[in-house]
Symmetry: C2
Subunit: 202 residues, 2 copies
């Protein structure tokens, strides 16, 4: 069976942060972090629209961290279904890395959240199997992306480099020394420089 | 009189370092830092050749830090003329930021090293005056580039983003929170993604 690519797609500041500091339920992207997503929240340019379309195109499966699923809480309350409302934009199985076991949550539009408590490698394996020959999206946050990159499990890293310096926040590349990539494509808009890398090793 | 652009042109790792750790006289670019310059030391690609040509094209004047001029020593010994040999590649006045006053050093090929002890703003002002309507190159290292960017004195920032993660070294963007740029152009080769930014403010 052909295997789909594992693609990690992230918006990042010029100085390497994928979220601002002080992430919270009120400010899930951290202070200044929303700025990193303007290029796809309100694309103003043909280049940004192309990458927005690619980001939102349904994948075979998605892997994300706990904080990307929903706000930081001590424990699940059994009611909350994440940031994404009743019809999340994934339209595919989403594997959420967490320490709290929970039954799968099927949502409208084909998204089902699965909760994985035994680590990134397991989440990736489950996502790969669910995706078949379609791509798997590693959606973030930083810790999840780092774990998948460190495990050598990512085929393509797509960075949307936003031309702003955040100064602090959550860095993507901490503890990934030695990671090597090959740029396949780069396009600039005023809002972001989009670079597609093939990950070639560590 | 028309003023030339002030251009800061730097090679940088995916994780934001422009030199590796442990810079020394033997290893001026730090551990792993030479990797950041392969794209122009031995350009293998039309895109890399174009940016190499642009980097080496004579400027009106150059500003650089002390460690980029020559190895780290306690004091000048009156003999050493930097890393660059008798015919440096600048062919223009070069203003070296240092704490040690020293007479100008004229070299073959039109390069003269001037030593500036009263700070980045002064070096930039002298470089601008020497350059007339030709561009001024801010060549590095990180501290000099940061000072010039922090002073709002840089018109264009050209980054050659090398697809490798160094893990440690000297970061370009520390203490530049709030800096904002606009991408004008992006081109990828296997060795580097070249991005030209207009610096729009802080």
């Amino acid at each position: 069976v052909a295997q789909g690519l594992v693609i990690c797609d992230l918006s990042i500041s010029l100085d390497g942060f994928i979220a601002g500091p002080d992430q919270s339920a009120d400010q899930p992207l951290g202070i200044g972090g929303r700025r990193l997503h303007e290029w796809h929240f309100s694309p103003k340019n043909e280049v940004d629209r192309r990458f927005t379309h690619e980001l939102l195109e349904p994948k075979g499966a998605v892997v994300m961290g706990r904080n990307m699923f929903g706000p930081i809480r001590g424990a699940w309350d059994g009611e909350w279904n994440g940031w994404w409302g009743g019809d999340p934009p994934y339209h595919a199985p989403v594997f959420v890395l967490t320490h709290h076991a929970r039954d799968p949550e099927p949502m409208a539009g084909g998204t089902t959240f699965h909760f994985v408590t035994d680590g990134a490698a397991s989440a990736l394996a489950q996502a790969r199997e669910a995706a078949g020959d379609k791509p798997v999206l590693v959606a973030g946050g930083a810790q999840t992306a780092r774990q998948c990159l460190a495990a050598g499990a990512v085929d393509e890293l797509v960075l949307h480099v936003v031309p702003a310096v955040l100064g602090s926040g959550e860095r993507l590349f901490d503890d990934l020394g030695g990671l090597a990539c090959e740029p396949l494509e780069a396009c600039a808009s005023p809002a972001a420089t989009h670079i597609r890398y093939r990950v070639v090793g560590r």
